[in-house]
């Protein structure tokens, strides 16, 4: 019975009707999926045009470099968070690491007598110390999340509060000034007519795009975020990848903190406070799923770029500074709604 049934069905059901329709539909969807990566480009172009209409300063080279420089530190945080989100984790503590890493470096190297500096180590140590603090924070996060299997959201929320508290403690709630020269270098130096921080940010994103798109390690991030059991079954050492991602994210946050401190020539005890919301917003607008396994580095970059371009246009348009906050929030919501329309799927 089955033999004959099978024969009629295969010819009747498969190549005709349903199958063919589905195939045609999927072709369109592939094109769509590729476009998703570029979804924000039209929005960026529109903002550029609007910006130029609002103020002829907007498209001038120095203004664009200004936009890139002000966003470079937070863009590096977006990059870090993107890695973490793709493996289906979250790291809220990044924003505190932005303050704590350069804060500890300043604490140990700034001479006694200026604020709370201890002057224990020569200034040259500041950069390695800041990065080491990043590694340490990442290791603690990873220990809690991976080794002890605790929820990443709550662990890093706790870390956010603890790290912020440590910075307030060592600085006495004050700002560190008179930072050593090595700490100022990355935030102030110009390479080939562009700030070093802009170069660094663009370079990191370029590396991120290549690693996530074209290396086995990068693809394993997507596999883990998409279906961790399947990743294990495919022979991916999931815990090791997660360790690397979480620690890398913290080190990137420390680097971001160094750039910020260098540019401002100080470490305020509130440095980085509240950044994480913008970081999440930029990542999600850029197409990174909070449910893991989805999104690209390029998308994340367009997300943060769009947010900062809009802010710049608002400033140029003379919107009072008191209203920027409210507008920022509204922009994030509008951008999310737009990406829902272009993405076509319910965001999770």
């Amino acid at each position: 019975m089955a033999e004959s049934r099978t024969a009629t069905e295969v010819t009747a059901n498969d190549p005709a009707g349903g199958g063919a329709v589905r195939r045609a539909g999927s072709g369109r969807r592939i094109a769509y999926a590729r476009l998703r990566d570029l979804a924000l480009i039209p929005a960026i172009i529109v903002i550029a045009i609007v910006g130029q209409l609002v103020s002829p300063v907007f498209l001038r080279g120095d203004n664009l470099i200004n936009v890139l420089q002000t966003m470079s530190e937070i863009a590096i945080l977006v990059l870090a968070q993107t890695l973490v989100l793709i493996v289906k984790k979250m790291d809220l503590s990044l924003e505190s690491t932005v303050g704590l890493a350069p804060g500890v470096a300043a604490w140990l190297t700034v001479p006694v007598g200026t604020g709370h500096g201890l002057g224990l180590l020569p200034g040259g140590w500041s950069v390695p110390i800041a990065l080491a603090v990043g590694v340490l924070v990442g290791v603690v996060n990873a220990l809690f999340i991976i080794r002890f299997g605790l929820n990443g959201f709550i662990v890093t929320l706790g870390m956010l509060i603890v790290l912020r508290g440590i910075l307030t403690g060592i600085s006495g709630g004050q700002t560190f000034f008179r930072l050593p020269a090595s700490m100022l270098y990355l935030g102030t130096e110009q390479w080939l007519g562009m700030p070093a921080s802009v170069w660094l940010c663009l370079l990191l994103f370029a590396v991120g795009i290549v690693v996530l798109g074209f290396t086995s390690f990068g693809r394993s991030l997507y596999a883990i975020g998409g279906n961790v059991d399947a990743a294990k079954a495919a022979g991916i050492r999931t815990d090791r990848v997660l360790w690397i991602v979480i620690v890398t994210a913290s080190v990137l946050a420390a680097l971001s903190g160094l750039l910020l401190s260098g540019r401002l020539a100080s470490v305020a005890s509130a440095q980085g406070n509240g950044y994480i919301f913008t970081v999440f917003a930029a990542a999600v607008i850029g197409g990174i799923s909070l449910n893991g396994g989805k999104g690209t580095m390029f998308g994340a970059f367009t997300g943060i770029l769009l947010l900062f371009m809009i802010q710049n246009v608002l400033t140029l348009a003379g919107v009072p500074a008191q209203w920027i906050g409210a507008l920022n929030g509204a922009i994030i919501l509008i951008a999310l709604a737009l990406s829902r329309v272009t993405g076509g799927k319910v965001q999770d």
Partner: protein
């Protein structure tokens, strides 16, 4: 027939999880080229045996060998994958990644510059799928494949590691009739190419259709191994359940002639799903809604319970017309519902049996929105008794139950509001023979007590107890078949084939 050492062999395997013994000195031997069925009720130890045979877990005692040689170390995944491939019940596809990437996960083709060459990955993926004639676009995200395509992709991937022994863990559980027969065609192709298969299924007729040898496990032990042809169905069921079981099919009286209509659909249509569907169900009657998964039968059933709203026509439950697309209205009118996928719509896994069973009737459990825990548990206890749910108590989370018992909880929820109309979609999918018989027996009892029952299913055993079966094909009711049909008659009708023509 079998020459040389068995392709895979497990001897004296014992595996404990805490205090429970999952396998007790179990053994299985799968010969070269066999299509070997492994059957047993839920909890018989099949899954544990599969994870031991695929190297995901080590046995506490006993040994596994492949082709006469001892199994590789657990850590050596590649060595295992060259010996045995498995298509698990739970998908190991990553939905966000493309088909091509899923096929070559963690073994991407690298270009000369050390980076992944996507062009080569796609080409090799296409070659691989062509080899096994799987017609799927390798560029689409794997999440967009349907269950059948996904399975074929997983089978192709499993074979691409070089293994010539595949374990298929309940591959037919989520497929409709047409897809199952396409899967079987493929399995027969594999058989001809000398691939050895271990086939796990709850559906005994499938085993008689494509397997040559059958092994029965019960209560963590090996019970028997026999050529399929020498083991009559009744004996197989007896071996699985440990007692002689009568073949189902006792005569039902059917509804009395004067019984009133409890459900009436008139000219109901939903664009893209079904068109101009009219039928009625009388009190005490069991009506089947047969058809392939995509025929529209599921949508019709979901319209009755208010999950969907028909664009045209009316749905009346025991008299007045229902507000379309409203589940609360349907519940109030007296509709009980066992949904298509219990994991998704049937229960909240972390919530207790009591909470799940009473999810539809909070107003009966207390006043002003408060829930009286004692009344709830009392209610749950009576349900546990009535449906013979195996549990230490009503407070156990549903996730801790076996599949059959989970489905009983879903049934309890459906019966909680004392329905006048009971709607069931695939009520016995993925549950063992005994639970299945029990649940279907319950359905008959409910009909006898005066409720109308609508069963939307493509499972012949579910449809066998119906007084009449309406066959849905491409969104229309094409035939009404009274009780006493032959399997091939109904199947042909469901597939849209006219046997008489």
């Amino acid at each position: 027939m079998v020459v040389g050492p068995p392709v895979a062999e497990a001897t004296g395997v014992t595996k404990r999880f805490g205090s429970t013994v999952a396998l007790r000195e179990a053994a299985i031997s799968i010969g070269q080229g066999q299509t070997h069925a492994l059957v047993g009720r839920n909890g018989a130890g099949k899954s544990t045996l599969v994870s031991i045979l695929t190297g995901l877990q080590a046995p506490d005692e006993g040994a596994v060998s492949f082709g006469g040689e001892p199994a590789p170390r657990l850590a050596d995944r590649d060595a295992w994958r060259q010996r045995v491939a498995c298509v698990y019940q739970k998908s190991t596809i990553i939905p966000e990644l493309t088909v091509a990437e899923n096929l070559f996960l963690n073994r991407h083709e690298h270009g000369r510059n050390g980076l992944i060459s996507w062009r080569t990955v796609r080409r090799k993926a296409r070659e691989l799928l062509d080899t096994w004639s799987v017609d799927v676009d390798v560029r689409v995200p794997a999440g967009e494949l349907d269950v059948e395509q996904r399975q074929f992709v997983e089978i192709a991937r499993a074979l691409s590691f070089g293994a010539r022994f595949i374990i298929l863990d309940e591959p037919t559980a989520q497929l409709d009739g047409a897809a199952i027969s396409r899967l079987f065609t493929r399995i027969k192709d594999l058989q001809q190419q000398g691939v050895t298969l271990l086939f796990i299924s709850h559906h005994l007729q499938e085993i008689y259709e494509i397997c040559d040898t059958v092994t029965v496990f019960r209560d963590a032990r090996h019970i028997l191994t026999s050529p399929v042809g020498e083991l009559p169905r009744a004996e197989l069921v007896a071996a699985m359940t440990g007692e002689a079981a009568a073949e189902a099919g006792g005569a039902r009286r059917g509804p009395p002639a004067e019984a009133a209509n409890v459900l009436e659909l008139t000219g109901a249509s939903l664009r893209g799903a079904y068109d101009d569907v009219s039928f009625r169900v009388r009190a005490g009657e069991i009506v089947g809604l047969a058809g392939a998964a995509s025929s529209g039968r599921i949508e019709i059933a979901e319209t009755v319970v208010g999950l969907r709203a028909a664009t045209d026509g009316t749905v009346e439950v025991a008299g007045p017309q229902l507000r379309p697309g409203s589940v609360p209205a349907a519940l109030k009118a007296g509709v009980g519902f066992v949904p298509q996928d219990r994991h998704q719509q049937g229960y909240v896994a972390q919530m207790s049996i009591a909470d799940n069973g009473t999810l539809t009737i909070p107003d009966q459990l207390g006043r002003a929105g408060f829930i009286d825990g004692r009344r709830r548990d009392e209610f749950a206890r009576s349900m546990i008794g009535k449906l013979a749910i195996k549990t230490p108590g009503p407070e156990l989370p549903v996730s801790g139950l076996s599949g059959g018992n989970q489905q009983k909880v879903v049934m309890a929820r459906a019966l909680a509001n004392d329905p006048k109309v009971l709607v069931l979609i695939n009520p016995t999918a993925g549950i063992d023979v005994r639970s299945k018989e029990f649940l279907l027996g319950k359905v008959e009892e409910i009909a006898e007590s005066g409720a109308g029952v609508l069963i939307a299913s493509d499972e012949l055993d579910d449809l066998r107890l119906c007084d009449r079966v309406l066959v849905v094909f491409q969104g229309r009711v094409v035939a009404e078949i009274p009780r006493g049909w032959h399997d091939h008659q109904l199947v042909a009708s469901m597939e849209g084939v006219d046997l008489d023509g």
